[in-house]
């Protein structure tokens, strides 16, 4: 893919993708909060509120406990970097990413897992009981979402004939994949959607709106963080949400994405991408208002369903091969 691109063009595209990820992600969080507020008959904060929050946090002085080790201060940077890198492997508005030589969808999953792993360590590091509980729960969720995610990915990769995200998206955009083989893709879509809700700590699994509650997962791990460290972690979790939404939008419905590098195709691709991601954000906000959070021990049921859906997607590829 890199052959028909010049090096400066590749660098420009990668930078553009990183800027889109960094710039759009707080707006998506703001949009979801706005949707929830409107459903609860509140006015709610504006969509741009998360930007103001990040700005405020970056200005504040961080407080670091004396009992913590280097892991505590290094984790926000590791989480942020690994999430952005994972985001660069997913095609956002161009179907063939310049960075697609750097890693396939398996690298994507484990880059995100690297961030989760360090976040779990950091939750334990400060020695507070809340952090430990959050870490233990995050470990449960992460260990159950990983097989479901991998299975779903294999179901998609088998039809596309490649584990490279750019190839998968490019082929689907040119009307292969989900159009010619709907059953495995729909199963994988449902599985990836459940995994996305669990991985990004959205409602049936974790409640992102609470800050001090016994059942929280993500918030419990980042409870000890303040100032710019907290800002980085919040930003990273917003990017992670956006990356998962991008993955869902572009792997399963990539139509409209730029398949060539003309300015016209690129601007259409970007506009379509923003509409798709905003639509998914609306859907997530609606889900958060319609469903209650699951009991912690029922989360395994939900993730079991995600795993089975992904497994069925994989099996359907073989069963329904006509």
């Amino acid at each position: 893919m890199i052959k028909d691109q010049s090096i400066p063009q590749a660098i420009a595209l990668t930078l553009a993708q990183a800027i889109v990820l960094l710039a759009v992600s707080p707006a998506i969080v703001g949009l979801i909060k706005k949707v929830k507020a409107r459903f609860q008959c509140r006015q709610g904060a504006g969509i741009l509120q998360p930007y103001a929050d990040l700005k405020k946090l970056f200005r504040k002085q961080p407080v670091v406990s004396t009992t913590t080790s280097w892991i505590f201060t290094a984790t926000p940077y590791i989480v942020f970097a690994s999430t952005v890198t994972a985001g660069l492997l997913v095609p956002i508005f161009v179907s063939q990413m310049p960075l697609n030589f750097a890693g396939n969808i398996i690298a994507f999953v484990y880059l995100l897992a690297l961030g989760t792993f360090f976040l779990i360590l950091a939750g334990l590091d400060a020695g507070s009981p809340f952090g430990g509980m959050g870490s233990s729960r995050e470990a449960i969720v992460a260990s159950l979402t990983e097989p479901a995610m991998i299975m779903a990915i294999f179901a998609i990769a088998l039809t596309a004939g490649s584990t490279n995200l750019s190839t998968i998206v490019h082929r689907t955009a040119l009307l292969e994949g989900i159009v010619t083989d709907p059953s495995p893709h729909l199963m994988a879509l449902a599985a990836v959607f459940i995994v996305a809700l669990a991985e990004t700590g959205r409602v049936p699994v974790d409640n992102p709106a609470t800050h001090l509650e016994l059942t929280m997962i993500h918030e419990a791990m980042v409870l000890e963080y303040s100032g710019r460290y907290l800002a980085l972690l919040e930003w990273a979790s917003a990017i992670k949400l956006l990356v998962f939404l991008t993955l869902i939008a572009n792997v399963f419905a990539p139509w409209g994405i730029a398949t060539s590098f003309t300015p016209m195709a690129l601007s259409i691709g970007l506009a379509v991408y923003l509409v798709k991601v905003a639509g998914l954000g609306l859907l997530i906000g609606t889900i958060e208002c319609m469903f209650a959070k699951l009991r912690l021990f029922r989360i395994t049921d939900l993730l079991g369903v995600a795993f089975i859906l992904a497994l069925l997607g994989l099996l359907f590829f073989y069963i329904l091969r006509s």
Partner: protein
């Protein structure tokens, strides 16, 4: 209907049977009895739609009649009867299970694989449009069988039995474009009567033991 090529037709039939299998898993994962009944009605609706599509694609009018009967018997009558039974019961959920939900789901996943490996050698000999659905039909029968064994409430067992019947119907449609009409009619009548009898039996169980747990039946001694 120029766009409805045999290839696209096969895709839609395959998709319909995939949805049938998906609803099976939903029933296995569902604890609320009334939701199980709704899911069964949904599954039967998918079955009727798949059958009607096969009838349309293959020009076999008697499958239309079977599909219409499926809608009447399994989407309308039997769910109504079951809802009536559930209203009389004092339990709305299956709380105690011999096998818990995640384990049941994994076992059912394994059953799908077994069904696939069993039917794999046979499928290439078929030349029908629907031959891929055979593995799914067998999987549905196996899952229904497993659910009958692993659940304790009479209502869930009945739903599992009806699920097996749906699997057999799909299998018959997949393997031979449906059985002769007279056989289908007989089967529908049998299923309806079986569901009614099981409904009455569940009510009797509720009266006798104050519970619909079928393991309690082993307490019956001479």
């Amino acid at each position: 209907m120029s766009w409805l090529t045999p290839h696209i037709g096969t895709q839609i039939v395959d998709f319909g049977s995939a949805m049938l299998l998906l609803t099976c898993f939903a029933i296995v994962a569902q604890r609320r009895l009334s939701a199980c009944v709704d899911l069964f009605a949904l599954q039967s609706l998918f079955l009727a739609m798949t059958a009607a599509l096969v009838a349309f694609l293959t020009d076999t009018p008697h499958i239309y009649i079977a599909a219409a009967l499926t809608v009447v018997v399994k989407v309308i009558v039997i769910p109504r009867v079951l809802k009536g039974v559930i209203e009389r019961l004092n339990v709305t959920r299956e709380l105690v299970m011999k096998v818990n939900v995640p384990a049941s789901l994994l076992i059912c996943g394994a059953l799908v694989m077994i069904a696939f490996f069993i039917t794999q050698p046979i499928i290439p000999f078929g030349h029908l449009l629907t031959r891929d659905s055979l593995a799914i039909a067998l999987a549905i029968v196996l899952i229904g069988f497993f659910t009958m064994i692993s659940r304790q409430k009479a209502v869930t067992q009945l739903i599992a039995f009806l699920m097996m019947e749906n699997g057999l119907f799909l299998g018959a449609t997949a393997a031979t474009y449906g059985m002769p009409l007279i056989v289908e009619l007989g089967v529908f009548f049998d299923v309806l009567v079986a569901a009614l009898i099981a409904g009455i039996y569940t009510n009797r169980l509720q009266d006798a033991f104050d519970s619909v747990d079928t393991t309690r039946l082993s307490e019956l001694k001479e």
